[in-house]
Symmetry: C2
Subunit: 399 residues, 2 copies
Amino acid sequence: MIYNYSDRVKNLKGNAIREIFALLKDPELISFAGGFPTLQTLPNKEIKEITDCLMNSEEALHILQYGSTEGYTPLRNTVASFVKRYGIENVTEDNVLIVSGGQQTIDLTNKCFVNKGDTVLCEAPTYLAFLHILKTYEGNAVGVKSEEDGISISDLEEKIVKCQPKLLYLVPTFSNPTGKTLSEKKRKAIAELTAKYNVMVLEDDPYSELRFSGERVKSLKSFDKAGNVIFTASFSKTIAPGLRCGYCIADKEVIRKLTIGKQATDVHTSSLSQAIINEYLKKGLFEPHVESIKKVYKEKKDAMAEAIKKYMPCDKIKFTDPEGGLFIWGEFSDNIDTDEIFKDVCLKTKVAYVAGSTFFPGENVKNTFRLNYSNATLQQIDEGIKKLGDYFKNLLGAK
Amino acid sequence: MIYNYSDRVKNLKGNAIREIFALLKDPELISFAGGFPTLQTLPNKEIKEITDCLMNSEEALHILQYGSTEGYTPLRNTVASFVKRYGIENVTEDNVLIVSGGQQTIDLTNKCFVNKGDTVLCEAPTYLAFLHILKTYEGNAVGVKSEEDGISISDLEEKIVKCQPKLLYLVPTFSNPTGKTLSEKKRKAIAELTAKYNVMVLEDDPYSELRFSGERVKSLKSFDKAGNVIFTASFSKTIAPGLRCGYCIADKEVIRKLTIGKQATDVHTSSLSQAIINEYLKKGLFEPHVESIKKVYKEKKDAMAEAIKKYMPCDKIKFTDPEGGLFIWGEFSDNIDTDEIFKDVCLKTKVAYVAGSTFFPGENVKNTFRLNYSNATLQQIDEGIKKLGDYFKNLLGAK
């Protein structure tokens, strides 16, 4: 049998990071490649207790039955209040769609707004799964310049005028991969600019709860007066990714269209997952749990930042120092191809990063890399950065 | 804001049945419209016990962490053995993809094989969500004639030659909406015919476990020598739909492509749901549970068939009498438009069916309707069919 795949997937390879994982089954390897939460922080005891209560309650059978595509009503109501913490006001359950992880919102938004050949703008670099998903809709990703405080507003306007994009995709807080945060001033400017030009915005916020220093910034959605911003977040980084549960907030009409898109894929998100998350939030477990995770992440980020200062050739590589999230971003001043050296680095140092090129839409940026600190121990962080530092010093010295 | 939706969803309305549910919030209404399992059969106690064990085990943290897109390895292995009951042999975990309900396989198969304008063949009538999903890929559904024992093989060959379809979609056992089962002879013929013409087949099997009379028929996949058949089933009708967990079986290469498609939507299926299903199967709970459900369904089907004989104008309406599944299909010999009378029926009888037109690809078939018996009590079945029968007799008498 010769399989005639559709154009949209014909040339699609697996997500680069998942490919790396397959490659790297060596147990000795220290991986800074993933973006997983710290395993030990996952709240199995609380989830056991919650499930016990749920399965003994009158709700049990309804949780096991088919649910509505929009989501479990108690969770939709809980989320409608919950998002006030992001400055998102005047939201009812009609503005909430429960999704099977934040990634599903990226899929549904592209499904509902992007035709083949349409342009979608994003920060360059950006979350690689967004680029992957956009390919399945045969859209065209165009990168907007990234500055210290997020995308360049002048470059954004220029590209809106030039490309007439359907959509702007952003991870405004603790961006994946750079860890940068978009300033409040720019958020306001983006809300105004995109409304003016009739461009939809997808604000992807998996990380803002993981802020361990600095001040909280209001969401871009909180500045949305035109109804063109879709806000999405998940409980993957704050409760447990294995439950696959997130949500999006948008204008009612948009929610109805996204719901039709979701109906055509998984009918609805696991009701058990939804009910667990709802109870977790209602019992007040979220805040103290997030506080405890943040301590762990701050410690790990500090350890990595310190190790970088100690072992890395910091005159030749610039690193971000994020106030939250999961990632540090490195950029060589020299013309180093981080893709090309990747296998050699893994082989010689037994340390893995993700080459930056995978996060850029089309452009040929080769001298960057992403480091994750949430999924390694403090000892591994010190040891891994030392090994990487030695390798890079040697590499740069030899040039 | 004017929302410029993509062509694929612009004209898409919600699933007809879900729209009906919204319409019919009257608590007095007897609904034969859905396709839900009987609420009281859902195994909440067993799921509570299983979750207890899982969350106390060493696996707990891994179940709450990100998993692989292909699925939870223990469940993939369990499923690889489990499908022997359908005559599917020589399967390893590499042939298994865990999905978030069988509907996701329909989505992924269309995503991976169907370009805009491509033809997909299906039985006429067929599962309405398939028609809905195909629209989101801008494919073109063409119906193949339905006979007593499933689709017509001569019509199938004619349409394969004429339309050069990418895919054939079938619910071979206890079809939704008709309740018909494709004969073994025809399954073999279809496997050979589609292999000859290089057409992929999606065999959707949500119902075959719910056989309460007659003999089990081997799956179409069991006759697949070319590797062109994708088999999908879920645990929604046998364990609990709220967990959103199913699987598909296909050639390794096809599984890899479907996996890339799934990665771009929900990353992976809820690991908690997957682990619960795996334990349920491994503990031997599946067989006795399905036996107990079948008794309930047989009783309900018998009650509905009996009420039909008693109250319906059976000289003017032909009904199927299925050996399993969830549905009975009615067909008027007169030219009755079941869509047109639907609201009047609901208003006057407080009984709901689904008009048959929604299950036909394009064709203008108006004189059919679907009745579900799993979600009403025996008393409601007798009462509802009596009311419908009276209405129909009156309608036909008045003509």
